[in-house]
Symmetry: C2
Subunit: 360 residues, 2 copies
């Protein structure tokens, strides 16, 4: 067995010790005689797994007690509809900050349920920066202000937390969840798909301040009504039990690495290896404003798109996969989530230098 260096934007690399533990426990979890996949979600074994997973997340993010932690299905794109369904609270409009492809999707979906105001946009820079807060035009009647904390496709990340006063701040953290400490109390709601830093696709996390829930639109499906979910501890129906179990193993792994402060330090170090080289080379280019560069997704371009296929082929031959950029922006993209080791980034930069020397 040879493991590759996996730069996928998601579903993405998971910590190898997590996969080893999952494989070892596949037929018999802790002497239960069952796989976690085979357990009733209301049995004592899975109830224990769920409680531990939730407690670990609360500990890692230091989630205040007035927040509900919900495990859902449907992904972040599902939440793009479910958030307005739940958070409009009698209001008719919401503010969105447009920083790229993922904010665009959120904006389009929310328009089914309310008036969407774009409070700020990075359009002028072709979505290569985060609009400074001084340029934001927030509607005092907005139900909430929505941001995408990290644009997976564009490679733009907030390295600061917006101040939206009394208006709840809602953040899609799908691709930088658990990559660094976050002051949850600054947010009304944080959400994300699991398939980057948390676990398998099919699990969605929502952390929501409890005063914001309980006023869902009448058309909200019960399985997506935050109040119903909170009252049933995310068990209004069968939750994605195996994905929750894997998330729990990932949370334990993060804790063992030193928690989110250690993750942030590791992620800064990894990203620096790549960005330092991108700043030094005249061969590859990075279009993103330096202060807004994502530490999770690093897009870069070769001097000529005609070289892309050869670059990718050489990378694959060296065991580095899933480096192709999203079709919307083209070029390359290295996603370097928590579970991607520094050795992977070092190997990538070594190969980039080699390729530059041969083709530059």
């Amino acid at each position: 067995m040879t493991r590759v260096f996996n730069f996928s934007a998601g579903p993405a690399a998971l910590p190898e010790p997590v996969l080893r533990e999952a494989a070892a426990e596949m037929l018999d979890w802790h002497g239960s005689g069952m796989s976690v996949m085979e357990m009733s979600h209301r049995g004592k074994e899975f109830m224990g797994i769920l409680a531990e997973t939730k407690a670990l997340l609360v500990e890692l993010l230091q989630i205040p007690s007035n927040y509900k932690v919900l495990f859902l299905q449907g992904g972040a794109i599902g939440q793009n509809a479910i958030i307005p369904m739940n958070l409009l609270r009698g209001r008719t409009s919401a503010d969105y900050v447009h920083t790229g492809e993922w904010s665009k999707k959120s904006i389009e979906e929310a328009q089914k349920y309310c008036t969407v105001r774009v409070a700020a946009t990075a359009e002028a820079s072709q979505y290569t920066h985060v609009p400074k807060q001084s340029t934001w035009d927030i509607d005092p009647n907005a139900a909430y202000v929505h941001i995408c904390a990290n644009e997976t496709i564009g490679g733009v990340e907030y390295h600061w937390t917006p101040d939206t006063g009394d208006i709840p701040l809602v953040a899609d953290m799908s691709s930088n969840f658990l990559s660094k400490p976050v002051d949850v109390s600054r947010f009304g709601l944080i959400y994300g798909g699991a398939q980057k830093n948390i676990g398998p696709a099919g699990l969605t996390l929502v952390i929501v301040r409890d005063d914001l829930i309980g006023q869902a639109l009448p058309i909200t499906p019960s399985v997506f009504d935050y109040r119903v979910l909170a009252d049933n501890d995310s068990m209004i129906n069968t939750p994605p039990t195996y994905a929750i179990y894997i998330a729990g193993l990932v949370f334990k792994w993060i804790k063992a690495q030193g928690g989110l402060a250690a993750m942030a330090e590791l992620n800064r170090r990894k990203a620096a290896v790549l960005y330092d080289y991108l700043d030094a080379t005249g061969f590859y280019t990075s279009p993103i404003a330096k202060e807004d560069r994502s530490l999770m997704n690093v897009p870069f371009r070769l001097p000529d798109p005609k070289l892309d296929a050869e670059f990718l082929k050489g990378a694959e031959a060296r065991g580095m996969v899933q480096l192709k950029g999203h079709r919307v922006v083209g070029g390359m993209r290295a996603s370097i989530y928590n579970a991607v080791p520094v050795e992977a980034v070092q190997a990538l930069v070594a190969y980039m230098k080699e390729f530059e020397a041969a083709r530059g």
Copy 2:
């Protein structure tokens, strides 16, 4: 490692060879150097898994070409909302047949989106039978007629397919999916959560006739619009990739056993072991009308509920778990899905006899 006999109603027992293969491939699927959990859903490896899984399902159920096979999230309870959102097609009401707890949930949820008419109900027998078709009062203007093909809690199953004429028949097959051959062409839509006969919780299957889709209500979330899903081959967002992979392994296992005809034969044989004994004993009772007994979920009662705890304790001591009935109906329930071997049912009956001899 000792595996138990697992009678859980769901999530439920999976075939041991499937779990063994999943464990063996956990760190490196087919030489890819990645776990299936770590693969981009748009990469060639996972696209291959998805295509093969879908093709296997089409083959097993002989799904006609004018049906779409969709892989979703949100469970059958999610579908209780998503079905009216998609299938009302300008109509304002739908007919439901009430056969127990799961139909009741479907009825309650659909009332958010349309007028619900109960075309037939088993209330008079306390939901211990399926109402004969001659008693059904179908509204010719109904958008569809909804049935629960197998009531997991009550233990009542349709052993015939209703004829609803030109009105599309919609069936929740969560708990008897793939347990027997089904003539898909008799249905407008078949749906089910995966966590009984298919795979891990968090995957929902929908098989829908293509002329019924494309008229979703404007409030339908994009990820649950069947037209959008069909046009994007279930990839409007990241699907539950690992659950789909496990489902594919289960489909392969079913095929290797001889397909759905063989499954039906095996399931009849297993259920007969239990029902024959229930008919012979004067100790345990089964409340369900003989012709409507479920081959998947077999509820039974001891002569005195005070004996329940002792019965369950003795079962656990013999490696037989998750036999407690649902709190709504009480008593015991043995769920004997595809992956539960005949040896499990034989062991259960042997224990029931032993308990009867000691206590009867």
